[in-house]
């Protein structure tokens, strides 16, 4: 039973398979590890660009098909911290050769993961059948969400155990990973694929699935995906489930939370008042509680607002959105920053309207 989501089904497993998207990067990587060794790698790029796919393909290139035999474990680590024990629970997927984990899942305890867990794993060195000491690879995802302390901790580990362990760091935003970490790695930028690339990819997948994909629909799906391969493929699959044979004009589904944010945007544009702010607050809470990350809410909200305002207001929206996003990182409850952004926009839009129309 090989039924799987197309995203997973058509994921390239080897560097050589990556022909449609990221082909060039894949080639470079293949050359890099041709001699069987590689430095620490730092994959960065937007969501759905293929960072992790590349990282796993590199692993396969190094260790062979054995890396695909993974098992998932939920491990609990007990760490003695001066006077009290700290328990850290972390899910990790590991094969004989590598281990994948997302330390930022532990929230504020992530530094214990870095200080203890990773050190522990990095210390032991696998020995292959010939008695040659190899190395293992730790794949750390969402490094940009690691706390500052954890990143500091990681810095030392990377140097100290580099003989027995390689780290593959994966992050969306390199700016949130401290320079000291970046300089210890070979950074590999994985850009979001262009619309054409995504279109090609969609056609390729359709061919493999033996479907007729009208080029217009492919273009529309690609455009709706926002240069995100995962989204593009999921959208295509949804279209397939909703309606087949494809029609060039058929609806391309977007996500509810995006529609919801757009709705909030038009509500804000329709009325600027404290009571409206309270209403928007309720909506923001809903988004927030449903696990939509506040940064994404802010970005999308700013975009939604910018669609229908004058140019000078657009500049200000950009400014304030950036302002509040930065502050969101600095501290405080994210929901406060979102709301303050809305209030700020309301105030400036109102005064803009007053200035423009009197």
């Amino acid at each position: 039973m090989s039924a799987a989501l197309w995203v997973d089904k058509h994921r390239p497993h080897e560097l050589g398979d990556a022909t449609t998207v990221n082909a060039r990067t894949a080639k470079h990587l293949k050359l890099l590890i041709a001699r069987g060794d590689c430095p620490h790698l730092f994959f960065h790029g937007p969501s759905g660009a293929g960072k992790k796919t590349l990282a796993l393909a590199v692993l396969r290139e190094i260790f062979g098909a054995g890396v695909e035999k993974v098992k998932l474990e939920n491990k609990t680590w007990k760490i003695d911290q001066n006077d009290r024990g700290v328990e850290v629970e972390l899910a990790m997927m590991s094969s004989n050769f590598h281990c994948e984990m997302n330390p930022s899942d532990c929230g504020s305890k992530d530094r214990y993961v870095v200080q203890e867990v990773i050190k522990e794993m990095a210390r032991s060195r696998p020995i292959d059948a010939d008695g040659i000491e190899g190395y293992k690879v730790l794949v750390l995802t969402e490094v940009d969400r690691l706390s500052r302390e954890a990143q500091y901790g990681l810095r030392r580990t990377m140097e100290k155990y580099s003989a027995s362990c390689r780290l593959f760091l994966i992050a969306e935003r390199p700016s949130k990973v401290m320079d000291a970490l970046q300089s210890r790695c070979l950074p590999i930028r994985v850009p979001g694929p262009s619309i054409e690339e995504i279109e090609n990819l969609l056609h390729e997948v359709a061919k493999k699935e033996k479907l007729e994909l009208p080029p217009e629909l492919a273009t529309r799906v690609a455009q709706a995906s926002g240069r995100n391969m995962r989204r593009a493929l999921l959208t295509l699959e949804t279209c397939r489930v909703m309606n087949y044979p494809f029609k060039p004009t058929q609806a391309v589904q977007t996500t509810d939370w995006e529609l919801y944010i757009n709705q909030i945007g038009s509500e804000i544009l329709a009325e600027q008042s404290p009571s409206r702010l309270l209403q928007v607050r309720g909506r923001l809470y809903e988004l927030f509680v449903n696990c939509i990350p506040p940064e994404i809410i802010l970005t999308n909200l700013a975009k939604a607002l910018m669609k229908r305002v004058d140019v000078e207001v657009k500049h200000q929206i950009c400014f304030w959105a950036a302002h509040f996003e930065v502050r969101m990182q600095r501290g405080g409850k994210p929901i406060m920053h979102l709301e303050a952004f809305v209030a700020q926009f309301m105030a400036l839009y109102k005064s803009h309207l007053v200035a423009a129309f009197g």
Binding site: A3, L277, M346
Partner: protein, 888 residues
């Protein structure tokens, strides 16, 4: 002296006092009190009210009346000491001593004395609150016949206003007395621990008296025996002045101790009528304690005469029918089946220094209990407390006739309550409950706290009778302080007293401490002295709600104080800052302010002020975070400044009042974390590749599409009636679910991708906002307001049942005889089970039928959901592979 007292009667004070006059003495208890008060001597009277022409002026009766009324109401203006004395006698009588009787006889000054005795006797028979109707009528008739007059004009000379038990206001004539009722030193010499003394006279005086008596008898005996002997009587007299005997020395020592005692201790109220807390509160406490009378003393609690009086008066005024005569079960406190008050514990709350502890002690003693106090100085861990309570409540001495005990747990909000159910509060709660097999609680327990809303008190609050004690009104407080100062011979400016009282938020304890301190250093306590001493300023930790409310309203937050209006300064911001500093929890301040800022009416059209305020809050939060992460707590002062900025933004706004809402952000974060945990738990339950995406991309990208992918359009028919296309779709779907990419459908995916219905968990949060609550309750129920988003198909129940069946079939189909495939089969079956669990109750409908087969004991017949198209027998072991080995 006279000058000072003239000062005391500046206009403000007079107004205050007039306000006070409106509170009549309405209880029968108070009749005793007030009548007693009449018996004060003129000298003393004049001491406090210097020859006011008003009082003596025969011509202006009306003025006369108001002035005397004021006297009646204000302890400052009448000699409280005298008053205390008188009522104490009634108390003493009640306690079975006849001394009160004896003393009352000494007083022959006014014609009302006889009544007092009578009343006292009556009270002693029925308890203080038990002024029966009989006595009232008696009083009324006497009032008509003798000293009482319905009009002040009818009274010759001075008079005093008295409210009778039936609510009538009458005026009694006052007559001057030559000798003071009680010797001065007896008043001043009183002291010691109020918790111990139940004597109407100090022990040292009695010791003196006893020694004198002994001396006298000894002397008389000596004289009688040896009349011829040459006894130097004068030497004898001189010797008696020296403390010779042990008793005299002891009395001297006690008195010496008192000389240096704190005023608060020295002048603490010693009986019921001295209490500063409001009459109503005092009475409530006593009524509650009396509610235990049946269990403790075996007598009925006093009937609810006051309740009846009020309801009768109401009926009379509104032309309604009066209720019938009181029955014995009509008591003030509602009793339960076991004749105990419904609420088994009394919880007295109020700010420090309003006299909660004193009230509890005096009320308990007054009702005839021995007080057992457990306060913060004792070890109050749960186990210790349990033992102490048991000791106090269940044990009594076999030899000594003891009074029943009443436990007072002081400062209960400070008890150590760690350990949840095993905490100290629970020890108290358990004591309230009747233990299995043991006797039910049969003694009153009084708990005292400052912060009623302290989290640890929550369980107690639900079962306790809560009484809130407020600080006494300014005039009462100032009067009492001045009275004490006068007793201590300290010259004090009335305005200084007022300032001190204001500074300490009407906390009489600190006020007295402050004045005593100043009096030590200077002979006269003046306003200037107090203002410059800076003493007595107290940090009161305010509650979160008040801080938010004060921050988000205009400048009328703090009215100008007495001192400021004299000096012309108004350090408003400094006060606000101090309030925030004292509150300490800046994060809570910011959370609450932020939550409520949109509701503040900032009075600006462009929302500028509101934005400013919000930004200020965020700045403050930033400083706060920084101070925390950097460990640099000096940064907190900047955060406080930010809070002040918010306050200045709101400088023209009105108070929010009822609209205040508790901050929700914490709750929202909690809810979000819970959802995150669900999601990641779901992820870690998988062993497929989907777990390799980040949680964020799961939520924002995968799940919304997955929801649609998992919900293809399928007719709700059995598989046999499906078209080949439909079959293919179903196969694919089943494949998706059963394959390595299985997403456990519990909780359903669509819960995470739907928007517009609001968050249920957040809706319950507005409990603080009563107005909203009320509106919501009154509004007709409406359907939740959904946004006009694109309607989505979700995995509905019928689809689920189809999927579930298909999974079972496919599992069955893929179970070939080959042993090699067995493992795979089991695996897929297990998954089918998971999916079936989601299929919503279909399994419940499985009917148990008897099977003829001997190998399998029981066969469960599984009927597919909505159609009879497919009916196949599914063996239990197909569904539960683990059972296979153990199958019967």
């Amino acid at each position: 002296m006279d000058d000072d007292d003239d000062d005391a009667f500046d206009f403000d004070d007079m107004i205050d006092r007039q306000d006070d006059v409106d509170v009549p003495f309405v209880d029968a208890n108070d009749e005793v009190d007030t009548l007693g008060g009449i018996g004060k001597d003129d000298d003393d009277f004049n001491g406090f009210f210097p020859d006011d022409d008003l009082d003596r002026d025969e011509g202006s009766r009306e003025n006369d009346r108001s002035a005397v009324n004021a006297i009646g109401a204000d302890p400052s203006s009448m000699s409280a000491a005298k008053r205390r004395k008188t009522v104490e006698e009634s108390t003493a009588t009640e306690n079975g001593s006849d001394r009160g009787e004896r003393r009352a006889e000494k007083r022959t000054t006014i014609d009302l004395d006889a009544y007092v005795r009578e009343m006292a006797a009556e009270t002693s028979a029925r308890g203080l609150g038990a002024m029966g109707r009989g006595s009232k009528t008696k009083l009324r008739s006497r009032a008509r016949n003798e000293g009482f007059k319905a009009n002040a004009v009818d009274v010759e000379g001075e008079c005093v206003g008295v409210t009778l038990g039936d609510g009538r206001r009458v005026y009694a004539k006052m007559e001057p007395r030559d000798t003071p009722l009680v010797p001065e030193e007896e008043i001043y010499g009183r002291g010691g621990d109020p918790g111990v003394s139940l004597l109407s006279r100090p022990i040292e005086d009695m010791l003196d008296e006893y020694e004198d008596e002994r001396n006298r008898t000894a002397r008389e005996a000596a004289l009688r025996e040896d009349e011829d002997a040459d006894i130097d009587m004068s030497a004898m007299g001189a010797a008696s002045r020296e403390p010779q005997t042990a008793g005299q020395r002891m009395a001297e020592r006690l008195r010496g101790q008192l000389r240096g005692a704190l005023w608060t201790q020295k002048h603490t109220p010693r009986n019921f009528t001295d209490l500063l807390s409001s009459e109503y509160v005092n009475r409530e406490v006593v009524h509650w304690i009396k509610g235990w009378d049946k269990v403790v003393f075996g007598r009925d609690p006093p009937p609810a005469t006051m309740k009846k009086f009020y309801s009768d008066r109401y009926a009379e005024r509104n032309g309604l029918k009066k209720r019938g005569p009181l029955k014995s079960e009509d008591t003030h406190v509602q009793l339960d089946a076991t004749k105990r008050p419904m609420e088994k514990i009394l919880l007295i709350s109020g700010p420090p220094g309003v006299g909660k502890t004193t009230l509890a002690h005096i009320a308990a003693k007054h009702c005839g209990y021995e007080v057992v106090e457990i306060n913060a100085s004792d070890d109050r861990s749960a186990s210790k407390l349990k033992v102490k309570l048991a000791d106090a409540l269940h044990s009594c001495s076999a030899f000594v006739q003891q009074k029943p005990k009443c436990v007072i747990i002081d400062e209960i909000d400070g008890v150590h309550n760690a350990g949840g159910d095993r905490g100290a509060i629970y020890a108290v709660l358990n004591a309230l409950k009747s233990q299995k097999g043991g006797a039910p609680l049969s003694r009153p327990i009084i708990a005292i706290c400052n912060d009623l809303y302290c989290t640890s008190l929550r369980p107690l609050r639900d079962v306790a009778k809560v009484i809130r004690v407020k600080p006494p009104p300014n005039a009462t407080l100032n009067g009492r302080i001045r009275e004490i100062c006068a007793k201590e011979n300290v010259d004090v400016e009335p305005r200084a007293v007022a300032l001190v009282a204001e500074r300490v938020n009407n906390d009489i304890r600190s006020a007295l401490h402050t004045i005593q301190l100043i009096a030590k250093t200077s002979s006269k306590v003046t306003l200037r002295e107090v203002a410059h001493a800076g003493a007595g300023e107290k940090d009161n930790k305010p509650q979160a709600l008040t801080v938010w409310q004060d921050c988000l309203r205009g400048r009328h937050t703090f009215p100008k104080s007495r001192l400021e209006s004299e000096t012309g300064s108004n350090p408003h911001m400094a006060k606000m800052r101090e309030k925030i500093e004292v509150f300490q929890d800046n994060d809570a301040v910011f959370d609450g302010m932020f939550e409520n800022i949109p509701k503040v009416r900032f009075q600006d059209g462009t929302m500028r002020r509101m934005t400013q305020a919000m930004n200020a809050v965020l700045d403050g939060v930033m400083f706060q975070t920084k101070s925390f992460t950097a460990g640099d707590h000096t940064l907190r002062q900047y955060a406080e400044t930010c809070a002040l900025t918010v306050h200045s933004c709101a400088s023209h706004a009105d108070a929010l009042g009822d609209d205040f809402v508790w901050p929700k952000s914490g709750r929202a974060a909690k809810e979000r974390n819970a959802r995150m945990a669900t999601l990641s738990a779901r992820r870690s339950a998988l062993d497929g590749k989907i777990a390799r995406c980040s949680l964020v991309s799961d939520v924002t990208e995968t799940l919304p599409y997955l929801n649609s992918i998992l919900a293809p359009e399928l007719r709700s028919v059995g598989t046999t009636f499906m078209t080949s296309d439909e079959k293919a779709t179903l196969d694919r779907l089943v494949g998706l679910i059963v394959s390595a990419n299985t997403l456990v459908l519990d909780p359903p995916v669509d819960e995470f991708v739907k928007f517009g219905a609001g968050v249920d968990a957040m809706k319950t949060l507005d409990r603080l906002s009563w107005r909203e609550q009320r509106e919501r309750d009154e509004a007709p129920p409406t359907a939740p307001q959904h946004l006009d988003l694109v309607p989505r198909r979700a995995v509905n129940n019928s689809l689920r049942s189809i999927i579930a069946t298909a999974i079972v079939i496919s599992a069955d189909r893929s179970s070939p005889a080959e042993a090699s495939a067995e493992a795979a089969r089991l695996k897929s079956e297990r998954k089918a089970r998971v999916a079936l669990g989601v299929a919503g109750g279909n399994l419940n409908r499985a009917r148990k039928i008897r099977a003829g087969d001997d190998d399998v004991g029981t066969v469960y017949k599984y009927n597919e959901g909505h159609t009879t198209g497919v009916r196949r027998a599914v063996l239990m072991r197909h569904l539960f592979p683990e059972l296979k080995s153990a199958s019967v």
